[in-house]
Amino acid sequence: MEPIIFTKNLTKKFGDFIAVNNISFSVEKGEIFGFLGANGAGKTTAMKMLCGLLVPTSGLGKVAGYDISTQSDSIKRRIGYMSQKFSLYEDLTVRENMQFFGGIYGLRNKEIQKKIEYYHDLWSNNEMFDGLVGSLPLGWKQKVAFATAMMHDPDIVFLDEPTGGVDPIVRRQFWELIYKASDQGTTIFVTTHYMDEAEYCNRVSIMVDGEIAAMDSPKNLKIAYHTDTMDDVFYQLARKAQRSETV
């Protein structure tokens, strides 16, 4: 079966700066794929290319069978995206945000309503749906952002540091949401700084200075780097970085 994400020598330059350098990898359908790397390693840039937000400088990339350079509109129909920067409308309620993001994917009111009811039951927090997003605690904001990214049942969901800055309990709850989506067949592509989260992934890649330095299951990586924590694997790779934290 063809991998759901596939790249070959994918490169992005900003002037002289090579943000992403010749990366080649593939992600199988239904996988939880962890995309690790220090700040400025090029994770977000790579992810934006896969989502059709950035045009690659060179190289090939395919998402859900479509070419990222020429068919980004078809890709956008099939993916969900949760940006590193929180990006729901703070002056709209949770329900209204869900209605809007469902609406711009062309969902019918009935389908949107069904989704809202699903999260209603899941979270059993009824008042929250009619409160403004701006007044929610960060943890809930992130969970709502995930739910909005999943409104149109995407094949793949891209999560850019979805748990940045939230407490361990909420992180745990968030990963429960990810597992639920994965169980329903959604491919998860997630970047994170938390190495305990890396352990939750089927496979991880570690980016250093725009290149993929290592890629395997967490278990195999630990064996290869003669250690018993992902923390240590990451540290061994990331300290080789030349690039400062600028991007």
Partner: protein, 374 residues
């Protein structure tokens, strides 16, 4: 269609929740349109006039009374000499100085001529200019009166003086509000439309919400329409409040031409100006930048629109700028239709020009809006 509806619904929900915006939509036309025309009045009054009367005759007293009864001047005591008077000008206490020489009345009777001197404080050029013109006109009419008195009727009739009388068309009493209100209303709609549309999109950039939209399969034209339609409606509301409540209610200005014509032109105009706002938004990343860029263009638009100064009297290069200023045409059309009752045939040229503005600006806005960054 569902996509566009979702966009519109969201936009209206945000507008409804934004109290400041709602206030602006109602208060801006009411307050600004009520106040601004009163200030934007070219008729000068309260010109500070100093008279140095070296003659102290009945005649010079009569002349002073005549000048003061015109209502344009406030008499200021400047002392007894021209030098003292000049000092007062330097201190900005006086705008105009009229010197009546000694033996004014004697010379006038003996020689039949006499000259007066007017000195004007030209720091405020308009005041100096208009003030001297007023004063000269009063002196001239006084001159004619004198002739009447001194020269027998028959001789005067044969003297062949040319007398002019003016009739002001379309604005009988030469009042300023009918002239200024339609223009200022056009300006208010422009400011609201231009600022709101550009700020709105840049806010989405600042908040990061635009990225969430860009990663969806939404079409560029849908996005632009989703921004255009709500502000089109707001523009109509602002304009109607101004036209019916203030122009009609406060100033009693009722358009002589057809409402349909006014509103159809407003429609095209708003599409053009909103397209311009959206185009500007593509050059800004923050709301602050957007404000500065929009302000830059608004200043040019306002001052070079013919609202305050006739375009024909601008230098040629400025006339070219005015020709590429959409506000120029809207003000022109407003004045023509409201004051003169012009018909579609009279303004069809301006109609076509505005349609062209609309097409060009919105095409550029759609082209500049990039869902994918290179």
């Amino acid at each position: 269609m569902r996509v566009l509806l979702a966009l519109l619904k969201k936009e209206f929900r945000q507008i409804r929740r934004n109290r400041v915006l709602a206030m602006m939509i109602v208060m801006l036309p009411v307050i600004q349109l009520t106040i601004l025309p009163l200030a934007a009045d070219y008729e000068l009054k309260h010109i500070k006039l100093g008279i140095i009367d070296d003659d102290h005759s009945t005649l010079s007293q009569e002349l002073t009374n005549k000048i003061m009864s015109s209502g344009y001047f406030n008499l200021v005591d400047v002392g007894q000499s021209y030098t003292q008077g000049l000092e007062q000008i330097e201190r900005d206490k006086v705008d105009l100085l009229l010197e009546i020489p000694s033996q004014f009345s004697q010379n006038l009777h003996k020689k039949g001529t006499e000259s007066l001197s007017i000195s004007a404080n030209a720091i405020n050029g308009v005041k100096a200019n208009v003030g001297s013109v007023y004063l000269t006109q009063i002196l001239q009419s006084y001159n004619v009166e004198m002739l009447h008195k001194l020269i027998p009727e028959t001789m005067y009739a044969n003297s062949g003086a040319i007398l002019t009388s003016s009739r002001y068309l379309f604005n009988d009493n030469l009042k300023y509000p009918p002239f200024m209100v339609p223009g200022i209303l056009a300006l208010l709609v422009t400011m609201i439309g231009g600022y709101m549309s550009s700020l709105n999109v840049v806010k989405e950039k600042e908040m990061g919400t635009i990225e969430q939209i860009n990663v969806s399969p939404i079409k560029k034209y849908q996005f632009i329409l989703g921004k255009l339609i709500p502000f089109l409606i707001i523009g109509f509301v602002v304009f109607s409040i101004g036209l019916f409540i203030v122009a009609r209610g406060v100033y009693g200005i009722v358009p002589r031409g057809s409402y349909l014509l006014i509103y159809s032109y407003l429609f095209i105009y708003l599409i053009a100006i909103l397209g311009f706002g959206l185009l500007l938004s593509s050059f800004a990343e923050t709301q602050q930048q957007s404000m500065s860029i929009t302000f830059f263009f608004m200043m040019i638009f306002i001052l070079m629109s013919g609202l305050f100064t006739p375009i024909q009297s601008m230098p040629e290069w400025a006339q070219w700028i005015a020709a590429f200023n959409p506000v120029t045409y809207f003000i022109k059309v407003m004045r023509m239709v409201v004051l003169k009752g012009s018909t579609f045939m009279d303004i069809r040229r301006y109609y076509l020009i505005m349609v062209a503005f609309g097409i060009v600006l919105n095409t550029l806005a759609i082209w500049r809006y990039k869902k994918t960054i290179d």
